[in-house]
Symmetry: C2
Subunit: 151 residues, 2 copies
């Protein structure tokens, strides 16, 4: 019932499986993040800032896979809640470098632990070699997909 030559066979499509895996991961993350009052984008933003302090709104948006506009409203919330700070004046150009506050850092610590547990669970049945292989393959897919961008 599913081997019509024309269609994309959902049962065997790597694209569909990729979406399925990504959704499962997002659901699992939401599950552990909800008790902390945090969404996935929320967390991603904080984690990005921890690893690369001073990132701009646009850079954060790209890193969290949302638009600048969406990231901006998120940053406003995070700023209001005291998790991050942005200068009122741009030191150079229009870019407003964002930084974590101590409170934001504490908040991130719990979230990070929760997310790490999810990732550990996801990778539980995989050997080191398989993880490396998965990493390599996914990187390749991304590169191939983006190649056709400007073409």
């Amino acid at each position: 019932m599913s081997q019509d030559g024309a269609g994309v066979n959902l049962e065997t499509s790597l694209g569909y499986l990729l979406k399925e895996a990504s959704t499962a991961l997002r659901v699992a993350m939401e599950e552990v993040l909800r008790p902390l009052g945090m969404s996935v984008t929320h967390y991603s933003c904080l984690e990005l800032l921890a690893q690369r302090p001073g990132l701009s709104n646009s850079e954060l948006a790209r890193g969290a896979f949302v638009t600048r506009q969406s990231m901006n409203v998120l940053l406003q919330t995070l700023e209001r809640e005291g998790h991050v700070t942005r200068p009122t004046e741009a030191p150079v150009g229009k870019v407003l470098p964002t930084r974590l506050t101590p409170r934001g850092r504490r908040s991130l610590e719990k979230a990070s632990a929760a997310v790490r547990s999810v990732e550990v669970r996801m990778l539980a049945g995989l050997t080191g070699a398989e993880r490396a292989e998965a990493f390599r393959i996914l990187r390749g897919m991304i590169r191939s997909l983006r190649e056709g961008d400007g073409a």
Copy 2:
């Protein structure tokens, strides 16, 4: 600058890479689907119906990774546009089995071809063995993630 033992290292995180790949795929699909006036969920719904005619609203929702409510409004649109049909009365219970119209099928054909080209591009640099390996690994991840569901 990124090897603090506590955080989830974004550069080496398979979870992050998974999201990145999934986003790249979605973007690429939106790109080829837009000229056809179709969104990804739109297309997913049609493709599901082609392979499993008579699916209910709820089943379609699960297959397209959205809620019943979201799928319902989409189905209303698709019905209004004449791409699908649903009986006004439920043959049994409350379930309304949905089917593609010839018009829906024609519409899907173009979309399916476009999506297939994206998937081909994504898989371009991969050998058959790698694709099989990717399939196996992703399946494992999904299973592991869902295991902790009811725990």
